[in-house]
């Protein structure tokens, strides 16, 4: 059982929605404050967190490394995410990511009867199947998932399309319509709003590996099996369907992010965010 940090007293837990909204304001149109610092208008460009680590067939080592320079803010972002996750859990995903945050908050205003429950899909094998193809397909020249399917390209343009013809144009093509469909179905319409993050985000998949590797060192969501009465309340509110309840709740660290929704509803105070004891 982890060292409990009181849910009520935790700034990060109490203010998660506000923090997500701050991330949305900082990253997304109409203000796009952080992008304007680097002469970008969205995540496509120096902030791209996904393209630089994909090797494309025929690429020289020099070209591969140039991709790191071209996406220098994306590289800094991903390195920061992986290191912070090792020690603190996937706080980027749960609190700061404006893309996942938009989909989660958007899903909260969708009526429950319209929601789709993807929790029957085991998320970790699916996401690593996607990641394997994401890395391998372009390396062997079969095609590419990078850019063609990207919620980091889609969500900012959903915001921007209301103001700019250039952002609206993103959706006037087949790839744009499919990306919009994926964001709507796996984001806004999914129970918890995080099915896209859980299944199709390559950064999320890498981040989850860092989370798993840091299990014995850093702060993570942890269950005290001695306290758990297997009521299943935690499982019902988990947006990433990371909790399986049998004799006691068990958290899949390859999908869990410390949103702490489970901690809030646990009547036994059996789940806490903290270091291993």
């Amino acid at each position: 059982m982890g060292t409990n940090t009181s849910t009520k007293g935790s700034f990060w837990s109490r203010n998660r929605v506000g923090i997500i909204l701050t991330g949305i304001v900082l990253f997304l149109p109409p203000l796009s404050v952080l992008f304007q610092m680097t002469a970008d208008t969205n995540f496509c460009g120096s902030w791209c967190p996904r393209m630089f680590f994909t090797w494309r067939t025929g690429m020289s080592l020099n070209e591969f490394l140039m991709g790191f320079l071209r996406s220098y803010m994306g590289v800094a972002l991903v390195v920061g995410i992986l290191v912070s996750t090792f020690f603190l859990g996937r706080a980027w995903c749960s609190h700061l990511c404006p893309i996942g945050g938009t989909m989660e908050l958007g899903s909260r205003i969708v009526p429950r009867r319209l929601k789709i429950d993807f929790s029957s899909i085991p998320a970790s094998p699916f996401r690593y199947g996607y990641l394997a193809v994401y890395l391998a397909a372009s390396a062997v020249g079969l095609g590419s998932l990078c850019c063609n399917y990207c919620n980091f390209a889609t969500v900012p343009r959903i915001f921007g399309a209301a103001f700019l013809e250039a952002d609206l144009m993103y959706f006037l093509r087949t790839a744009g319509i499919i990306n919009l469909g994926l964001v709507v179905v796996l984001g806004f319409l999914s129970r918890g709003g995080r099915a896209y993050c859980n299944l199709l985000c390559p950064v999320g998949a890498l981040d989850a590996l860092s989370n798993r590797l840091g299990l014995h060192f850093g702060k993570k969501m942890r269950v005290d099996p001695g306290r758990c009465n297997s009521c299943g309340a935690c499982s019902k509110v988990c947006p990433t369907w990371s909790i399986a309840v049998h004799s006691a709740a068990k958290i899949d660290q390859l999908t869990c992010m410390p949103c702490r929704e489970c901690e809030k509803v646990c009547p036994q105070k059996a789940i806490a965010y903290g270091r291993p004891t």
Binding site: F126, M169, L199
Partner: protein, 209 residues
């Protein structure tokens, strides 16, 4: 464990199908704007047959180039198109942002990054040579469908072998999104665009006029 392996394999299959399939009504070109002529990393290939195409051209201005560049879609036939520059909705003035108006990218400065969205509406084409239909082209009907021909030789070729050409009335050939410095008239970036026919371009049907 078996279930996890099956889900993994299903995911690999779906993802592979998605990766292999190309959505050929849009393309992305990445290029460099240089004083002595920049280049795009690879040509954009678009499959003929759609009413609308979208090209995303992103480019970085390489020092010491600074100036304004006219952006034109050049090729064998005129293609109606619209160009939009991606820009911040609310420009906070933190960094310099070029402007785009009247087909000109104004005030490009070293290390600026631009993203242009080009919406193209290609006209129907001469089924023999692939040139876009224009006013004054000859017209002929075949099986209830109207075709245009740039000249007598193309019309004859069609009439001799209509089955070969009847599905090829979409624009084909090589085009360029050309960036030209407004002061010197020199090209600073060329983005090649290929419209490939269903029968694949390069089958000997293209000819120069």
């Amino acid at each position: 464990m078996t279930k996890k392996i099956i889900i993994f394999l299903i995911s690999v299959g779906i993802s592979l199908a998605a990766a292999v399939h190309r959505w050929d009504d849009s393309g992305h070109a990445i290029g460099l704007i240089k004083a002595k002529g920049g280049e795009a990393r690879h040509p954009v290939t678009l499959a003929s047959g759609n009413d609308r195409y979208m090209l995303i051209a992103t480019a970085t201005v390489i020092p010491p180039y600074a100036g304004s560049a006219r952006v034109e879609l050049k090729g064998r036939s005129p293609i109606p198109h619209e160009i939009e520059l991606a820009r911040p909705v609310v420009d906070l003035g933190v960094r310099h942002t070029p402007r785009f108006s009247d087909g000109i990218l104004h005030d490009l400065r070293p290390r600026d990054r631009i993203a242009l969205w080009v919406k193209m509406h290609p006209p129907k084409a001469d089924p023999v040579c692939g040139m876009g239909c224009e006013e004054g082209y000859e017209r002929a009907e075949y099986q209830g469908k109207s075709y245009c021909f740039c000249g007598e030789s193309c019309r004859k070729s069609f009439e001799e072998n209509p089955d070969r050409y009847r599905d090829q009335d979409s624009l084909r050939g090589n085009y360029t999104l050309a960036f030209t410095d407004t002061r010197t008239g020199r090209p600073v970036l060329n983005v090649p665009i290929q419209f490939t026919g269903k029968e694949e371009a390069g089958n000997g049907n293209e000819h120069q006029h």
